[in-house]
Symmetry: C2
Subunit: 451 residues, 2 copies
């Protein structure tokens, strides 16, 4: 095994070169929502892998291609990195202090669209590989990269891709695209994502809006139908009323509670940042608030639309009304099942007229906090970061990690250079160079020890 | 009394002159919603009254002035005409076949914004007066005109104006601004308007929208609060749940039922025009449908707004949500009382967080179908129109008729030249010249017999 001092020295000495490579990647726009620059960026990423001796393929999907790269190493073990080369739209442009696709260094930070999410995670991992290759001439284990181009557009083709390439993607462990430190600069190990079933509910009661003086007493009103249908889904007690919805919910176990209890308090920060008067269900803070936040499934109205929405009054009875609703799911719920239960419930409640359109879905999935690979990643963070890595057994968001956990049977860990001011998805997205370097050091250690 | 033949002959001979005067009035834009041309139009209307020997005042209000005119006649009786000189906005301009403020004659119809609502009603009534004056040199009774400039903007200053000018407006009967024939060309006598209490309900639960992965389980959601508050107002049985809401409702009496029973069937036309599958409350048509349409109070959602309303999905939990809601009221409900009951109800249901903004209100009011003046107006229609005038004891809309019925104690009748294709409030608004002439003939007869 190459000495850590040598590797760290290599990384410190070559940081500028890696940032230059990152800057070339950020300068190539690759906005999946706008179908902008995706093949060009895929080609650029494939070239970067080839430069490190990876066998590389650009694999077509129904949408943006997936870049796959593989290089054999000394041991039989295989580590898989999941990343994405697409980025969020740069708009609103007027809120950027420098141009989003002209990467700019200021105060130890590199600014640009997609720099944090997810391009610096690609190049910093390649940078760790550079250090290992420079010092030893070979990789300590097999390394594979799967770098998709539709992560910011719901990874719509990834499910088919993974299922069709189970052998190609075979590995022993997976490092996820993101990760980072919290407000104290403590590195966090986020394990587990909730699933999601995002639907649009819509009702049409007439072919046109009607004057409310005419229709109010005798015509069905789409807005009322929608309100009553929504009300049938959840009441003020926050309990979802769809029969069977909670049947497959696994509550957090003792170890989950222990890990959640060890995390810092969030209640005051939430109250202040969002101007909240209170939390739901009588929660006031502590571990119970943190457990409810991520270990419970939800039914959230994300939007409502009907009739007249301008200033003042218009006496109109809406012919059409719709709502965006997202269900966040926890193991072992599935979006397919929730969609089916929702239809059954609406029909049983007399809302056959309420149409359901599925706008997106992901399954929930968790990696066991006790998995040896999780322990390895946590341990290897110890001499890179000033604070120990904390384990968050479950998070509130959603993503395609379930494909890697369930179809490929891999433990999936998170590690990266995100930080509370990184502004992913927002204007002035940036990374801190100190965290970029630390992530490369951490990744080099993980690869070495894992091998 | 001047002979009807002479009056009819005068009106037929001078129709072109009256239409020319109407055209000058329509050519003067007077859009209350856009504060466009109101003083100019008031001056023009006042001049028209002065030309007929009326003593005229242009009376300031907090908004557009009221034009008041009075001319004494032979008898002690006084007839009051209520009209308005303001019009709806002309937009969308691209849907007009000729310019909205360039009155244009085509196929026996005059086109222009405000021609039907309400400028032709002003000039046709002056035209009837011209005929009476030309034949007899004096009016058979006292005539007053109150012509406001804010009818299309909720008549916001009319209530104060009427209450401050009870003596000036004193009369024995009132002819309302509008009226007309139905699809069979049968003249209709619309008596009674429902009241209205139009509110905006709004909720704010945070100072900004929150990612639904974070807030879904633990932060209050404005859209849910709104849905539950609305659901507390009315359920799928269509019964308003606000305690006391129905306490002052007067059901239709035997004569109302008889009159409603005599009206033509509307069910099939509604089904076809609006593409309805069914009516509410199991109604299928007939007198019960017509009674429910106008004799029952309503609670109508006119609009819903919250969170993300664009295409596709956005995982956001809305901090703000609002609904426009109108209550149509029947005698003896009052908008002030309904507003108070609504606040009490929301508070009692735990919705103190739901704010109520009153956006408009009118009281319900009816004129007795047996009133002698109603009978007179119906009788005098008989030899002008080919079909007898039918009495509609109540209608679904709302307006300021209650001020004249309750503060001035007048019977209020409707008469006019509206017809199903008149397109009031829409592009290509028009009047039929044959109905213009008939209305003038009808009004001359009403004034003579009333005197």
């Amino acid at each position: 095994m190459v000495g850590r001092t040598a590797i760290d020295a290599y990384l410190q000495d070559h940081l500028d070169e890696s940032i230059a490579e990152l800057s070339r990647l950020v300068a190539q726009p690759s906005v999946s929502a706008q179908n902008l620059g995706l093949p060009e960026c895929a080609a650029l990423v494939a070239q970067m892998l080839q430069n490190r001796g990876f066998q590389t393929e650009i694999i077509p999907t129904g949408g943006a291609p997936v870049v796959f790269g593989e290089r054999k190493g000394r041991s039989d073990k295989t580590l898989l990195f999941y990343n994405h080369y697409d980025v969020q739209p740069a708009e609103p442009l007027e809120l950027w202090d420098s141009q989003p696709f002209v990467p700019t260094l200021r105060d130890g930070k590199l600014y640009g669209r997609g720099v944090s999410d997810d391009k610096a995670h690609i190049t910093s991992r390649l940078f760790a590989i550079d250090a290992l290759l420079a010092e030893a001439g070979e990789l300590p284990c097999n390394i594979k990269f799967v770098i998709e181009g539709e992560e910011e557009a719901s990874s719509v083709h990834l499910k088919d891709f993974v299922h069709e390439n189970v052998e190609k993607l075979a590995a022993d462990a997976c490092v996820w695209e993101f990760g980072g430190v919290d407000h104290r600069d403590a590195p966090m190990q986020y394990l587990g994502l909730r699933g999601i079933c995002y639907v649009e509910l819509s009702v049409e009661t007439a072919n046109q809006d009607v004057h409310s003086g005419t229709g109010g007493s005798i015509f069905p009103n789409a807005a009322w139908r929608l309100v009553w249908a929504l009300n049938s889904l959840k009441g003020p007690d926050e309990r979802v009323r769809i029969p069977g919805f909670y049947d497959t919910v696994k509550p957090p176990n003792a170890r989950d509670r222990e890990l959640m209890d060890a995390l810092p308090e969030t209640a005051d920060e939430y109250r202040e940042r969002y101007g909240l008067k209170e939390f739901l269900k009588g929660l006031t803070g502590g571990v119970e608030l943190r457990l409810a936040e991520v270990f419970e499934p939800t039914c959230t109205i994300c939007g409502l639309t009907a009739g007249y929405q301008g200033r003042g009054s218009k006496t109109v009875q809406p012919a059409r009304a719709s709502a965006k609703v997202d269900f966040r799911l926890v193991p072992d719920q599935s979006p397919e099942e929730v969609l089916e239960l929702l239809r059954l419930h609406l029909d049983a409640q007399g809302f056959q007229d309420v149409k359901i359109d599925l706008l997106g879905s992901e399954s929930p999935a968790r990696t066991n906090p006790e998995d040896p690979f999780v322990r390895l990643v946590v341990q290897e963070a110890a001499d890179v970061y000033d604070m120990p890595m904390e384990i968050v057994p479950m998070t509130g968001g959603s993503g395609p990690n379930h494909l890697f956990i369930e179809a490929l049977h891999l433990p999936v860990v998170t590690a990266g250079m995100g930080y509370p001011g990184t502004l992913a998805h927002a204007p002035n997205e940036n990374i801190r160079l100190d965290l970029y370097l630390k992530h490369a050091m951490h990744m080099a250690r993980v690869i070495q020890t894992f091998a």
